[in-house]
Symmetry: C2
Subunit: 257 residues, 2 copies
C-alpha cells in the first residue's frame, strides 16, 4: 500500500471539508480510486464544525478544581473534561484519564493543542457519523467508493508517545477476524482478531503528527482491507470483556466498592 | 511511504534470516535503499533461533494451575508464562495479563499460534539486540543503512483486535519529540511525543497478519523517520511515569497493599 500525506491550509468553521480534501489530492498529483482509504484528522473536523470551546470562562466545580490541581491543568479545562467524560479513572501530569464513548483516552479526547489560547477542540459529537458523511459526500462528488477514518491519537500503557487510532470509521471492515481459522501448523485459532482500522490510522498519523504539520488528510492506496458496509462499533469492547482492562478493572471495581 | 509485504517460506531453526529477507526483496521485484525500514515478525526470529518450547511436558506450579483454570489455558502453558513474566496482573479468557521487559502484554508475549501442537514460541531474549544484529548483517551484505523493527502484536485497552507494535528496534529514532515546540496557534506543547516505531510496526502488521500469511517481512520505503543511532529503550515508560497506567496502577498498588 502507499500512504500519501496531503497538505492543506488552516481550516475554519463552515469550510467545505470534502472540497479541501479533493483539492489536496489534486495538488499532490494523485487521484482518488475505488478501494482507497481517506484518513481525516479529528481536529480538522472540530475546526470546520465549530467545536472549539473557550474553557477559560467556564466556572469549575469542586471536583474539577481538585482534578486540575492533581494534573496541573487549568480548572476550566478540567471542568470541560469532566462534562465530556463518561468515567474519570484518575490523573497523571497534564492528563485526566477518562473513558469517553467507549474509548480509554486522556482528557476525554479534548485537546488544547492547535486551538487558540484558552480554547480547546472537542471530539466530533458522533465520529462514525462524521466518517459516514465524508464518505457519502466523496461518493456524491466523485462516484468513488472509499473507506474513511477519523484519526485521533492516544497513549498506550507503558509506552512513550502517542499513536494514531480510528476514532470513527465508515465503509470498510475495521476488524479482521481469524477466529475458527487455522494457523500454519493447523492449530485452531481461538481469540485473534486484528484491529486493521487502528493500524491504518497509525500509518496515517505518522504524517499528521502532533504539532504544526498542516497535514489534515492522508490518502492510503491499495490498503489490505475489505471495503463495504460494516458496523464501526465492532472496534470497541466493554471493560468487562476486555482482556487487558478486565484484570485491572475488576480488581479496581471490587477494591473501590 | 510505501509498505510492501514480502512472502517467504516456513523457516526453521538455523535458517539464514537475512538471506531469506534479501531473497524475498528480490522476489518481490524490489531493492533495498538507504533509509528504508525493514520489519521482521518476532515469530520468525523465534523459529530461526529455536525458541519454540514444548510446554505440554512442563510440570505446573500451584499458581500456574490456578491461573490456567481462570484463563482456560493449559497448565503447562500457564507455567511457561509465569516463568517468563516480570509481573502477572490478572487473567481474562485465554489471557494471563503480564508485564514482560517493560511491555504490558498477554501471556508474556508467548504465543501458541504458528507453533506445533503443545509448543509455543517465546519472544527473542533481547529484541533490540536482534534488531541490531539484523541491521548490521544487512549493512555487511548490502552496504545499505536501514532501520529494523521486530514486530509483535498486542491488544489495546477497550479495543477489539490486535495491533502491531515495535518489540525491538535498531537504527532509527523510534520517538518523535514535539516538547518545547509550538503548535499552529503558537501555544507551547507540553507533553507530546509520537511513538513512530509502534506506528510503523502497525503498518507492517497489516500484512503480517495473525494466521498463515507467510509474510514474515515487510519493507517500508520512504518512511517519515530519522535514521541513525538512537536508544531503543526510549519507547518504554515505567508504570509510575505512565499517564494511562499510573492512575490504575497507583490505585491498585495502594488498595492491594
Amino acid at each position: 500500500m502507499r500512504v500519501i500525506p496531503l497538505k492543506s491550509r488552516v481550516v475554519k468553521r463552515g469550510d467545505d471539508l470534502v472540497g479541501l480534501l479533493l483539492d489536496s489530492i489534486e495538488a499532490a498529483g494523485e487521484s482518488l480510486d475505488d478501494g482507497d482509504i481517506v484518513a481525516v484528522a479529528d481536529k480538522v473536523i472540530a475546526h470546520v464544525k465549530g467545536r472549539i470551546v473557550d474553557y477559560s470562562s467556564i466556572k469549575p466545580s469542586e471536583e474539577a478544581v481538585k482534578l486540575a490541581r492533581e494534573a496541573e491543568l487549568e480548572p476550566g479545562f478540567a471542568e470541560l473534561v469532566l462534562e465530556h467524560s463518561d468515567l474519570v479513572i484518575g490523573t497523571a501530569y497534564r492528563t485526566i484519564l477518562t473513558i469517553k464513548d467507549g474509548v480509554l483516552v486522556a482528557n476525554a479526547g479534548i485537546d488544547h493543542k492547535n486551538a487558540p489560547g484558552g480554547h480547546a477542540a472537542l471530539w466530533p459529537e458522533d465520529p462514525n457519523r462524521e466518517a459516514e458523511e465524508i464518505r457519502l459526500e466523496i461518493l456524491r462528488r466523485t462516484s468513488r467508493r472509499v473507506g474513511v477514518i477519523v484519526v485521533d491519537s492516544r497513549l498506550a500503557p507503558l509506552r512513550r508517545g502517542t499513536t494514531g487510532f480510528a476514532l470513527g470509521i465508515s465503509g470498510f471492515k475495521g476488524v479482521r477476524d481469524f477466529r475458527g481459522g487455522r494457523d500454519l501448523f493447523g492449530n485452531r485459532i481461538y481469540v485473534t482478531m486484528m484491529n486493521v482500522a487502528d493500524e491504518l490510522a497509525s500509518a496515517a498519523h505518522l504524517y499528521m503528527g502532533e504539532a504544526a504539520e498542516l497535514t489534515p488528510f492522508v490518502l492510503i492506496k491499495d490498503p489490505p482491507v475489505e471495503l463495504g458496509d460494516f458496523d464501526p462499533e465492532l472496534l470497541k469492547i466493554s471493560p468487562e470483556e476486555c482482556a487487558y482492562f478486565k484484570p485491572l478493572y475488576s480488581k479496581l471495581a471490587s477494591k473501590l466498592r
